[in-house]
């Protein structure tokens, strides 16, 4: 019953998303397009990285970043509001469904939002950088990135004791990852010590995989594996957190 129960949870979030569809699509494009204009066209004009224009280099990074922020917020903010503001999460906890079905359902809306936002930005980016290659490996990476960060959002929302905690999480975890996760620069340009530290960030591995897939380079399978490890860790953490809620 995992799939039907998770879909039931997702269904409610999809109904709510459908109600604000045009507004969502417009607002979701603002940040990545601004990054593209500021870093791709502004700062990076004329920069060449090993035969690749900076614009081509940065677009996959911005897609990874978009996938991260919209997935985390799409699942986390939604769950935080359900738990602490609408107080409707308890109703789901009292329904006769398994906890992992419930958490998957809550994460799926983040994944859906992440994929929609990333694909919407991709369409805009393809007009500017048509050499971006979107193949099955790129889509696989995007799917895993969105799912992984959705569970990070679910975990953060379950641990948060207030709405402010989500803001603190965004400032302490997401913001540093935005600028340090291999999105806007190549890891080969940073000192070795910092480079290894940056490998601890899941966004670094999402950026590396999506960039390699988009630019038709050899794929960093280790990064995909690390992303999957993060996915399992975030999902396991969320399960522990939701179980602890009933103590």
């Amino acid at each position: 019953m995992i799939a039907p129960d998770s879909y039931s949870i997702l269904w409610a979030d999809l109904v709510a998303l459908k109600r604000r569809w045009p507004r969502y699509l417009i607002t979701t494009l603002i940040s990545p397009v601004l990054y593209l204009v500021a870093f791709g066209w502004g700062l990076g004009r004329g920069i060449n990285l090993n035969g690749t224009s900076y614009l081509e280099f940065v677009v996959p990074g911005i897609i990874a970043l978009t996938a991260m922020t919209t997935s985390v917020n799409g699942a986390g903010t939604r769950l935080n509001v359900d738990r602490l503001f609408y107080k409707s999460f308890d109703e789901c906890l009292m329904a006769p469904i398994k906890l992992h079905s419930l958490l998957l359902g809550k994460a799926l809306i983040g994944m859906v939002r992440g994929i929609i936002s990333s694909v919407a930005f991709l369409v805009v980016a393809m007009l500017i950088a048509p050499t971006i290659h979107v193949g099955p490996m790129f889509l696989l990476g995007l799917f895993i990135t969105c799912l992984t960060f959705s569970f990070l959002g679910v975990l953060a929302a379950l641990l948060a004791k207030s709405h402010e905690d989500m803001g603190t999480f965004a400032s302490i975890v997401l913001l540093p990852m935005t600028f340090l996760g291999g999105t806007f620069f190549s890891l080969s340009q940073v000192p070795v010590g910092l480079k290894y530290a940056l490998y601890l960030l899941p966004l670094t591995h999402a950026s590396l995989w999506l960039r390699a897939a988009a630019l038709n380079q050899s794929l960093p399978w280790a990064s995909l594996l690390v992303l999957l490890v993060f996915f399992v860790a975030f999902m396991g953490g969320a399960l522990v957190a939701v179980r602890k809620m009933s103590i």
Binding site: V15, A16, M94, S246
Partner: protein, 285 residues
């Protein structure tokens, strides 16, 4: 239907429910009274599987709330104290979500939602977003949602809190109707008149302990059916209880005459005052 034995719950060593034991029969409308902070909501959270007890045992229709959570969850419906509807959805969509989570078939969902909207008189507001209807309608929508999977047991946690007198009476009618239709009702309230109007049996909880249990009339008989309130300057209101009006009148005649005196029938609030020395609404921790 509900068997509670030796139930305790402690947070950081402090007991909020302390050795609670009681049982509620099938078809009963049971009132669980006490001031805010007495342990009513914690008890309901344990009974509905949301919180694990520190010790003791609870059986819901024979299923243990800790060991058989999935079976327990299918047995009850709940109307929580706070508004817990999804405010991004309409009234009908909220019912639909709950019906899906309780595995009703698509045909049954459609039929049941229509039936229940009619039952709580919200058919005309089915497609309204939650925020676009009144507080009373929201409460009725929560009742409809609690009934969607035809539960045998209903937990109503302060179901009329924040409602005006007229809407409160509408909700009372609905509670009686649900009970008459066969549902066992476990009602928590700090409104004494609500418990007296609805419940055949009541338990009073104070500081996590059950301090009285029985039919409202029997509980009143224990302290005396007639209450005398004496308001004197500086000492607040004093209460005395008597088995009948004759004895109460005799007592009043013997008073010095400096006090404002009221004689009336006793109620469950008096039972609470007599047992704890404080008013139910006075303890707002």
């Amino acid at each position: 239907m509900i068997e509670i034995s030796g139930l305790s719950k402690a947070y950081s060593g402090k007991k909020v429910v302390d050795g609670l034991s009681l049982s509620v029969d099938q078809g009963e409308l049971f009132g669980f009274l006490g001031p805010n902070g007495a342990g009513k909501t914690t008890t309901i959270r344990i009974l509905t599987t949301l919180t694990k007890p520190t010790s003791g045992r609870v059986l819901i229709n024979g299923f243990d709330v800790v060991e058989n959570t999935a079976s327990v969850k299918a047995e009850f419906g709940i109307v929580q104290q706070h508004l817990s509807l999804n405010r991004d959805l309409t009234i009908a969509e909220n019912l639909e979500l709950h019906a899906r989570l309780h595995h009703l078939t698509p045909d049954d969902r459609k039929k049941r939602i229509a039936e229940l909207l009619d039952y709580v008189e919200l058919t005309d507001h089915a497609d309204y977003l939650v925020d676009d209807v009144s507080g009373g309608m929201k409460r009725r929508a929560m009742i409809a949602r609690a009934l969607i999977h035809r539960p045998k047991l209903l937990f109503l946690d302060e179901p009329t809190v924040g409602l005006d007198a007229q809407t409160r009476r509408k909700v009372w009618d609905l509670i009686r109707k649900m009970n008459n239709d066969g549902a066992t009702v476990f009602l928590t309230t700090h409104y004494i008149e609500e418990a007296e109007a609805l419940c055949r049996r009541a338990g009073i909880i104070h500081h996590g302990k059950l301090i009285a249990l029985g039919q409202p009339l029997d509980l009143r008989k224990k302290i005396g059916m007639i209450a005398v309130e004496m308001q004197s300057n500086g000492n607040g209101t004093q209460y005395r209880y008597f088995p009948d009006r004759a004895k109460a009148s005799e007592f009043i005649q013997g008073l010095p005459g400096t006090e404002k005196v009221v004689m009336r029938e006793s109620n469950l609030e008096d039972v609470f005052i007599e047992l704890t020395g404080q008013k139910v609404l006075g303890d707002q921790r």
